[in-house]
Symmetry: C2
Subunit: 194 residues, 2 copies
């Protein structure tokens, strides 16, 4: 398993010379996970920033009634994990699990800090990564308040068409903040109206 996919990804944002790329590549820990396996467990302190090379992961919160709430999905080229836990060193409230057999690259907390200190370009890379994620998150909050469930489902499908192959509908419902039963009803209405 090679790590060059991450280098391709980072090149889209910042420029690095060959030596820098070599070093950056070297600090990632490649890992294969099977469908259903955990990468991080809630309750534990997150140790890694998780980059997805192939497959699909989901990060979710389990509430007091043992209901899961999907925080985010991550397919090839995406990062996931619990930023709060890893940066503040507190136990995570999220778990991260594979929805399909996946290849991930783990970036240990210390290695990330080292990269940030050593290469200003990496600081920029993460700044831009977070900046984009922030825009998406705020949009999701506002859509959650301003749009009805059926509209949210339609935009979800338009925005992440590739996820349909990996993600069971019940998790999409959870991501949208509705029950699987209601999503089912929405889907039928959409089918009938065309």
């Amino acid at each position: 398993m090679n790590t060059s996919s991450f280098i391709t990804n980072i090149r889209k944002t910042v420029n690095l010379n060959e030596e820098e790329e070599k070093y950056i590549e070297s600090v990632f820990v490649p890992l294969r996970v099977k469908q259903g396996e955990f990468v991080e467990h809630s309750g534990e302190i997150t140790r890694y920033f998780i980059y997805v090379q192939s497959g699909c992961l989901m990060t979710y919160f389990t509430d007091k009634d043992a209901f899961d709430h999907v925080a985010q999905f991550a397919t090839a080229g995406w990062w996931t994990g619990d930023l709060h836990s890893i940066t503040k060193g507190v136990p995570s409230i999220y778990s991260t699990r594979a929805l399909a057999d996946s290849e991930v690259l783990l970036l240990p907390k210390n290695s990330q800090e080292e990269l940030l200190n050593k290469y200003p370009q990496m600081e920029r890379y993460f700044r831009i990564l977070y900046q984009n994620a922030l825009v998406t998150h705020l949009h999701r909050i506002i859509q959650g308040h301003a749009a009805a469930a059926d509209e949210r489902y339609i935009s979800f499908r338009e925005k992440y068409p590739s996820l349909e192959q990996y993600v069971p509908l019940k998790y999409i419902a959870s991501y949208l903040g509705i029950t699987p039963e209601f999503l089912s009803k929405i889907r039928r209405r959409l089918m009938e109206s065309r």
Copy 2:
């Protein structure tokens, strides 16, 4: 009006020498806004990153039925504005308005880019700023799905007690994703139960 409050703020995250601080201070544009005045209008391309020195602003989205949805409040020490519009140069879907007479510091887009290029410390400052905001935003999304409106209201009050002095209840309702009428009902229930 002095800009030293921002320097105090940035010192909490990164170290700068006196010369750097001087320069950074010099690129901010101080502005006083009265209650109700706009700092940015939706439909226009956002030109400034907005830092609040005193008072209180809110950034909100207006939907197709002319309903406002509060994206965020910002009191002293907070940043606000539309990151997507300013970074991508597209018209903003958010407006930013003063909820009280306020002093703000505007950081023009070009100046921010200059600061980022000139001082790696600034790149770090914004990386950490965005990182923390990301954690908060994701938490808000999950709470929106996992917690009922009354719980969300209670945690809001605990988390941002200082906002009560500035923010009319109808905007708090909007921030929480409920109607003012329903918030009113919640508040009465809470009063009665103690």
